[in-house]
Symmetry: C2
Subunit: 353 residues, 2 copies
DNA sequence: GGTTAGCACTCACAAAGCAAGAGTGCTAAC
DNA sequence: GTTAGCACTCTTGCTTTGTGAGTGCTAACC
């Protein structure tokens, strides 16, 4: 006679008490990683309710999709939906210890404008502060504005192209030059290029380079090489510009005590592709939290990826973030990411004046 | 009455048959990772001996220190000493498949003279060919000979110092310049420095820089910054110059199915220090094989580290290597390292002419 | 009607017991 | 010197069993 089979929590609504219970469950689970039962809640968090009542509420919460039950006689664990609610609504802003802020400052004392270095260090600081696997990326190539451009002779047939961008960030690559240009000639070209290209984005640069190439036949070779390089930088420019730190941190969490899971997680990081394309859908919003399945990556289905953007004066954005189990200390992580973002912004812009 | 307690294999000597049996055991164990018993040897490898005889020999080999027994009713596994013998004496040169050589060539097609890139790619190719965790390092900083030196303006107070060395390798770092030197001034300094420093090693450079600094007061600031940088590069220059690839490969081996072991291995790689100091005792010999305890690193006690050097024209050496379980395919690995070393040498020197 | 005590029920997990199998060492015969 | 035979050891995997945590349901309580 199964008449009561309408799916979904029909008639059940979230009320304040359910929310409080849910929050308690999430808090507890984030801390302990063990499924939490009704008795735990009624004892450890004083809500003035018996375990039986909690039980009823938990049953409702499960029906509403906020809780999962590994098996019948275990406690409940929060679902992705629950974390989503938690992040969106319940998160009391993580009161970041001044300790941490200071620690961030500390780590950035010895400074270098080299993008790779800053990025690498940022990721490392993040990982040591949060004890999650961390990442950092520079701004997108095509958004960067050129400040200086210089060719340094390497050998008879090659030179290093150094591009200094608006924020004092540096990119360099080796290009081939077929005619034998000596140091002075390269310098002259550099000056000319800087004059023509300063203040332009990489995308704009493309066109300008083409017209320059047409003007002077003898420099044609070099200019072409540069153009090719810029095109490359624009297309896959981020490829090299992501840094991970503390991949092995994931092994600290019991959800990754399975070697097979750990392996697939770590190889995911090593190939970088999946993470990069995940981060490519960058928002202009300050923080992005992707919980479990929301990442769209199979290997990350019980991970959360929390990212923050930091702003450069020229309007471009870089990204920093951490990857950890869905059971993540979101409050704390968001706090640290925020502080770190500010620090990075001021560090990278300070140089400008 | 224990009269027979003299330690060590008294009276027992290695003979040809023992060696053949030991080799069979090692071969088998490298392949399967399961302790090998007397019966396996007598059946799988046709030595025309019964298991009982093998058993006696194995007992001798154990007494001689070449075999260990996890527990009484398991087979034997080779000891570090056995692998040492194996590597030193028994290794029939790994007949490298031409396939692999070609594969190495293939991977190095798109080339760039940037040290980091070459190093990184080398490590990656190694790791994909051997399926062990791999590493690559450039030559030591202090041995490198300077070819060109150039300052590129970044902002009012900073510049990028690009050092091109003999092999066409590039190092660069950001330095502070306190007086405001414009692009032309920096270029003039660069020319002067190149003239004075070309052909010298980093160590020599130190002294020359000091005397230059004394000559001209106005350039004092820049010169000092450079000197400081060179000193740094000389001291810890290798720090940044090591690349790992495929750390997670270690998880493919059953000896690292224990998460705790895996974690400590991976963090060891992440900090880099231990590995660096291990590699610092570089030999001039082409190949170095460090087996288990020979590494002197606790976390690597059941790993082997196999390294090879590749030579640059200027007489300096770089290092490539793999890290895997002691039960490593030494023959194959040595073959691949050899081929890769040659490839690297020719790649990095070709540029020179 | 919401809350709670009580109780039967489920199910993972750990300890214990058991059988099988692999491998050894030793002895005695070849 | 080699080998067959055998008793013995010890891991490993499987099954059994008990325990405890946690649930859902019902009935009483406020």
């Amino acid at each position: 006679m199964e008449t009561e089979l309408m799916p979904g929590g029909d008639g059940i609504a979230m009320d304040d008490r359910k929310i409080r219970i849910l929050q308690a469950i999430i808090d507890d689970y984030i801390l302990t990683a063990i499924p939490v039962g009704s008795r735990t809640i009624s004892k450890r968090y004083d809500m003035g309710l018996s375990s039986a009542t909690i039980r009823n509420e938990m049953s409702d919460l499960e029906e509403l999709g906020y809780l999962d039950q590994p098996h019948v006689s275990a406690g409940r664990i929060p679902s992705a939906k629950a974390y989503r609610l938690y992040v969106d609504e319940l998160l009391r802003e993580g009161k970041l210890k001044t300790n941490d802020v200071q620690s961030i400052r500390e780590h950035f004392k010895s400074r270098s404008g080299k993008m790779e270095d800053v990025i690498g260090r940022a990721a490392q600081v993040l990982s040591s502060l949060t004890s999650y696997t961390s990442l950092a990326m520079g701004p997108k190539g095509q958004d960067m504005v050129i400040r200086t451009l210089q060719l340094v002779p390497i050998s008879a047939h090659s030179a290093l192209l150094v591009i200094v961008t608006d924020g004092g960030l540096i990119r360099d690559s080796v290009i081939r030059v077929d005619s034998d240009l000596d140091s002075d000639a390269l310098y002259a070209i550099s000056r000319m290029l800087t004059e023509r290209l300063a203040g332009r984005t990489l995308t704009e640069t493309q066109q300008v380079l083409q017209s320059i190439g047409k003007e002077s036949a003898e420099k044609r070779g070099v200019i072409d090489s540069i153009a090719r390089l810029v095109a490359e930088a624009e297309a896959g420019g981020n490829q090299a510009k992501i840094a991970f730190a503390g991949p092995s941190n994931i092994l600290n969490f019991p959800e990754y005590s399975d070697v097979e899971k750990a392996r697939s997680f770590l190889s995911l990081l090593e190939t970088k592709d999946a993470i990069l394309s995940l981060l490519e859908q960058r928002q202009s919003v300050a923080f992005t939290v992707r919980i479990g399945p929301e990442t769209g990556v199979k290997e990350l289905e019980d991970c959360s990826v929390v990212t923050a953007t930091y702003a450069l004066d020229n309007g471009t954005n870089g990204t920093i973030g951490v990857i950890g189990p869905t059971r993540m200390q979101y409050g704390r992580v968001l706090g640290i990411l925020g502080a770190m973002g500010q620090q990075l912004s001021s560090l990278l812009n300070e140089d400008k004046e």
